[in-house]
């Protein structure tokens, strides 16, 4: 099922096993956020991002376990490409809280989501997006 906004259901097509990269990633507070509430927080990202396709910002499906700056064909800032970040709940929490402090030089000129609950919800939503659908 897919809504008009391209929102995915709670669990990815692969079921809960699609969450494996997330579950295996270190320093993750699994279950801390509410993905449904996170969908609302994600509405703030919709000027630049979508779950399933690249826009001004890169797509977010398959984000967990992905190396930052690694979506093929997307033009990242040098800072993001060289950040060495692998996206998991901890690194996402740091970046979303203060993108410009976490990755100085990032093209994402955004002050960040300062509320910890909102960040947890947003991360839960991104995790629930799961892997990208095969094209």
């Amino acid at each position: 099922m897919k809504s008009e906004k391209g929102v995915r259901p709670l669990f990815p097509p692969g079921g809960i096993w699609g969450l494996t990269p997330f579950l295996l990633a270190p320093n993750i507070a699994f279950g801390a956020g509410d993905p449904k509430a996170g969908e609302q927080v994600y509405s703030r990202c919709l000027a630049c991002h979508a779950i399933d396709y690249d826009r001004t910002g890169p797509h977010h499906c398959g984000l967990i376990g992905r190396k930052a700056g690694s979506v093929p064909g997307f033009q990242y800032s040098e800072a993001m490409k060289k950040s060495g970040i692998v996206w998991n709940a901890k690194t996402l929490d740091q970046f979303i809280r203060d993108p410009l402090k976490t990755v100085p030089g990032t093209a994402m000129g955004y002050d960040g989501v300062k509320d910890p609950k909102e960040r947890a919800d947003l991360i839960a939503y991104l995790v629930a997006a799961g892997p990208c659908k095969k094209q």
Partner: protein, 153 residues
């Protein structure tokens, strides 16, 4: 002092301005796709074209600013991806446009604190206000509360 004069004085990193420019160019393309979809009826069509014109003005000042800074403004993409398979009615198009405008409000709100100069922040807030009006009008057009809360986020 103009928006880009302040930006020049502050040597604002042009990649962030290019990000805003890229988003504005995509919004222009989205409204174009909506206008050409055949789904929008008068007076909604005129409204969409008017809003597209605002985004063109935003893009133009951002493009000039990046150029003033010695950067290379991004060009519009040859092709944009929109969820056209979900856009079947006028209301679908308006809701999609509203989601983009809401995102733009949030993006500019998140950009304002990044600008250390208050006049530059004021310029970004001016664009934010315009996007918020678009969002409210689009919500109202589909029967939703035009202003859903006291604050935007």
């Amino acid at each position: 002092m103009s928006f880009f004069a302040y930006a020049s004085a502050l040597a604002l990193p042009d990649n962030r301005l290019n990000t805003a420019l890229g988003a504005e160019l995509e919004a222009i393309a989205a409204y174009q796709a909506g206008a050409e979809s055949g789904l929008l009826q008068k007076p909604v069509l005129e409204l969409a074209v008017t809003f597209q014109g605002h985004h063109k003005e935003h893009a133009e000042i951002l493009r000039k600013t990046v150029t003033q800074l010695g950067g290379k403004p991004v060009d519009a993409k040859a092709k944009y991806t929109f969820p056209v398979e979900t856009l079947k009615t006028q209301a679908d198009v308006l809701k999609f446009a509203a989601s983009l405008e809401k995102g733009a409000v949030s993006a500019y709100l998140g950009a304002v604190p990044v600008f250390g100069n208050r006049d530059l922040a004021k310029a970004a807030a001016s664009i934010l206000g315009d996007e918020a009006m678009h969002w409210a009008v689009l919500r109202n057009a589909v029967g939703e509360a035009p202003v859903p809360s006291a604050f935007v986020s």
